[in-house]
Amino acid sequence: MFKHLFKLIWNKRKQNFLFLSEILVSFMVVFAVFSSLVFYYQNYSKPRGIAYERVWAVSFNNSLKIKDADSLKMFFENVRTNIKSLSKVQEITYSSSNFPYANSHSTTGFTSNGRKYDRINTYFTEDTYHTVLSMNLSEGRWFNNTDGVNKYNPIVINDALKKAMFGTESAVGKLIGDEENAKMKVIGVVQDVKADGDYLTAGYAMYNRIDTGSRKWIGDILIKVSPDADAAFESKLYKVLANNIKNSNIEIVHLSEIHDAKNGDVIFPMTIFIIIAGFLIINVALGLFGVLWYNISKRRGEIGLRRAIGASGRSVSYQLVSESLILATLALIVGTFFAIQFPLLNVFNIASSVYLVALLLSLLFVYLLVFLCSLYPGKQAAAIHPAVALHEE
């Protein structure tokens, strides 16, 4: 049966060529849409890693004229005490400018046990950082005041980096880095934080404790406030900050606002992309429908003859629908060949599961599209009366 249908298609390969290429191209479009949707969905379904509600970020573009390390430390502690004394402040931490959802990024790389790891987000934090952001520790501990005097620089890494470096082993206590004077000691592992918004991957991350060397680059404060903190309190906080940190432009943002903005950066272009792809698909569906319809009206004689020698209406429409599905299969085999290159070549560094799920979804989608477009023409063909059809000849 299928062999016979295949022969019918092969005989008309020239006429079918355009039909095939149309299905092929629309498959690629659908594949692109599904790949991004699956990618975003997979990331979205993972936990956020932090709680951003009621966290405010203060930027004071560090243009302090204090050069001496000790006085700088004094100054930072002074500001900390003054802010913490405010009634609605629950916890406070200094941070590098790349706190979650900020536009700033800072990445680094290192070689450990001969393997190179790069694109690691590096954060400079303090002992209270994980409390302010309610981060979850999966292993070990966060920094505390015993960490200032160790031989090796203590660091906390995230789950993704731990998995890449140590697999399922415990990472706590391990030394990282091949250069003797730059070895770092892992003291804890935290759950991945999706710092670029809910729809993007967390990537590798490494947290350092702010020390004398790094303090001069610090220009941000994260503050966890109590639920009753309102705009009046914010304006009061602003005055306190401005009086404490002179010669600096100060900005307070709410993490919830920049979180929404980050998500918008993904949702907005994606919506436009889906609208455009949707219109393309409607366009293609109408085209397929038209062409199939026309082809069937051209084959009235053939269909009439089949009906006359006893084929049921159902089997005629079955034949036509399966013909278009086989046609689609031919195009999809070629399409799958191209699509499968994405996970094989690891394009864009995205997990291959994303591409594979997207591939399955797009195959299903295109089959469904072709099936629906051939259903009505198939029905029409089944309704052809042999006497009328053959009479025309």
Binding site: L18, E22, D230, E234
Partner: protein, 412 residues
């Protein structure tokens, strides 16, 4: 002759309404998207408020320090020191505008938070960019030298800060815990203009950070304005000669790129290029590839539909051939018919684009960015239409013209 083709085309269109609908739908929707995209690009790249002098401006927005041995790169904007000590000493430019890129600060009025983007500028800035002053005037050179706390604000800031008042000049605005006297109010501009957008403009001398700091990297950008378009190459040459002599001081880095770009180059360098290469060709290639890929699907669809329509008319073609019409005449006829169809679709596309653009402007998705269909956009639409018509018409016409008279006539 053409009149006949036109009549035939209309008759054919009326005959199979469903196919006509599919073709017109495809054409008009494709065109709408392309035209809206063009309107957007046109808005981005053609001279617009307040940056009318793009044709004779060079933009310095980026400093790249590179260590070619280890591959370290440090990219930032320029320091005031670099711009004032070297670049504003050039002879050819008529004016050199120096400014910071806007950054946000908070202010609180009646316990309501207002985020204000402020920008520090020099006096020439107001001559290079032609802001439209709704009231007052820009701050003067003297005021800058005296580090006076004066400010120019936008109409939106006036409304947000002072409420619906007729005039704000002379009043005081508090931003970042400092009070400034308003000296002028300018018309709003869209955020897409990175070099010119701000809510509050201040003299660079009141900047809280130390603008005199020696070094190459900082928060500043500059626009070099030539006296005429003809002097642009001369200005560029003088600039390159000068910048090659600037010592980069830093031992860690051996290469320094400070580019003076046209607005298009500046845009492509930030996204596709680097210090050595403006990336303009890469940008053009990528853009054309995207457009081509986007056109591919509707084109194939249209070709498919056209073949179907044409084969329906095989008896007509057979008769015309039998009476001696050459293949070429037939191809010509069909291509003309198809172009008529495409232009009709194009017309609907223009109407749709007007609706979409109107909706976009009304939605205020990008505040103060109002798109419009101008001659550039329309002519681009026409070119795409013709291209579309030709592409989708030639192949079916060629197939048709090869039809054998006997089979063509027999099939009915």
């Amino acid at each position: 002759m053409l009149k006949n083709y036109f009549k035939i085309a209309i008759a054919v269109l009326k005959r199979r309404k469903f196919f006509t609908f599919i073709s017109l739908f495809g054409i008009s929707f494709t065109l709408t998207i392309l035209m809206v995209a063009t309107a957007f690009t046109d808005k981005m790249f053609s001279p617009d408020y307040p940056d009318y002098k793009r044709a004779r401006s060079l933009y310095i927005t980026r400093v790249q320090l590179e260590n070619s041995k280890d591959g370290w790169i440090n990219v930032s904007s320029a320091s005031y020191h670099l711009l004032s000590k070297y670049i504003s000493k050039l002879k050819t430019p008529e004016k050199v505008a120096i400014f910071t890129f806007s950054s946000p600060a908070n202010t609180y009025i009646n316990n309501k938070k207002l985020v204000i983007e402020y920008k520090y500028t020099n006096a020439d800035y107001w001559d290079v960019a032609e802001y439209q002053f709704l009231e007052g005037k820009p701050y003067s050179k003297q005021q800058i030298e005296q580090a006076a706390h004066v400010a120019v604000i936008t109409a939106a800031t006036r409304k947000n800060y002072f409420g619906d008042v007729a005039t704000a000049v002379g009043k005081y605005i508090e931003a970042d815990n400092v009070s400034y006297r308003v000296v002028g109010v300018v018309k709003d501009l869209p955020r897409t203009l990175r070099n010119f957008y701000a809510d509050l403009y201040l003299p660079y001398t009141v900047s809280k950070s130390d603008y005199k700091e020696v070094g190459l990297l900082g928060g500043y950008g500059a626009v070099l304005l030539a006296r005429s378009e003809a002097e642009m190459p001369k200005m560029k040459a003088e600039y390159e000669q000068m910048i090659a002599k600037v010592p980069h001081g830093d031992k860690e880095f051996d290469l320094m790129y400070v580019n003076a770009d046209t607005s298009l180059e500046a845009f492509s360098r930030n996204i596709f290029g680097n210090g050595a290469n403006s990336g303009i060709w890469l940008m053009i290639t990528i853009m054309s590839l995207v457009i081509l890929l986007f056109l591919l699907l509707p084109t194939i669809n249209l070709i498919n539909i056209n073949i179907t329509r044409i084969m329906e008319r095989s008896s007509e073609i057979g008769v015309r051939k039998a009476f001696g019409a050459s293949s070429r005449t037939l191809v010509y006829q069909f291509v003309v018919e198809n172009i008529i169809l495409t232009l009709l679709g194009g017309l609907i596309g223009v109407v749709l684009s007007i609706i979409v653009i109107y909706a976009f402007n009304q939605s205020n998705l990008v505040p103060n960015l109002s798109l419009s269909l101008n001659l550039t956009v329309l002519s681009f639409g026409l070119v795409i239409c013709l291209l579309f018509g030709l592409l989708s018409g030639v192949y079916p016409a060629w197939r048709m013209s090869r039809l054998n008279v006997v089979t063509a006539l027999k099939s009915q």
